[in-house]
Amino acid sequence: MKILTCPLNGPRNIAEFTYGGQVKPMPNPTEATDQEWAHYVFYGDNHIGVVREWWMHTPSSYWFIVERHNQTDEVIRTYDPAELFDAGAAPATEPVAADT
């Protein structure tokens, strides 16, 4: 069984983790075309190389990022998502009057 190194909990059996899909940039949901949106929602890259993925250590509910080579299955690096997402990435607040 593969071992994955969680940035918080250290090396653990892969069975302790939940896969969360590839990290992919979301197009602007209000400006993207239907095609662009569908591509974001339903398609994943399928290139050989290093991919960036979401993984969660299930017992501690800790999400982190894994950089993994999808051909050799070698894990290059694991790290906290704060490295990718800073506080500015939060969704904008909506117009106040719109709430029901």
Binding site: L8, N9, G10, R12, N13, A15, E16, H57, T58, P59, S60, Y62
Partner: protein
Amino acid sequence: MSLRSPLAGSGVIEGPGGLRLNDLSLARREGVRGAGAREWLMAQGHTLPDAPNQIVASGVLGWVMSLSHHEFWLLQPDSEASLSLPASKAVAVGVWPLYCQHSHAWLQLAGEPRDEIMAKLCGVDLSEAAFPLGSVAQTQAARVSVIIAAHQNQNGQPVFSILVDQSLVRYLWETIEDAMGEWLE
């Protein structure tokens, strides 16, 4: 009004050589989490671990366990659980109280073969060499999430504190009892 442990039954299994599994679900435990948790606990006079997944003695009453940089549980094996509604409002800015008294049952396993017993259930090496006193593992045992902490009981004996979702404690108890079987004969 009385509190009931989620573990029905006697709550103690004893074997030769100090082997013992007991239920501490009615002992006191509380927790806080948030960006300000560390500073707040220090200001309360607690001794805190330096890093996540460690446990240290704090005062005479108990132990402080770190589950991340921002989450700490206070385990007080010799005090009784509180009868009041656990606090839910912030105790300070960025310090949220946790409901670990009610969410997690608390078992304690003492005795020399405790790491071998747990090796039947858990993929983390819990031998003293790999998991010395003061270590904490958030992991899975018998296919359910658990927190295992290596520390000492009131007699100074090394023990594992095992904290598990209270709805799973009956299952985990039966499973550990089964794993203890060869030492109970």
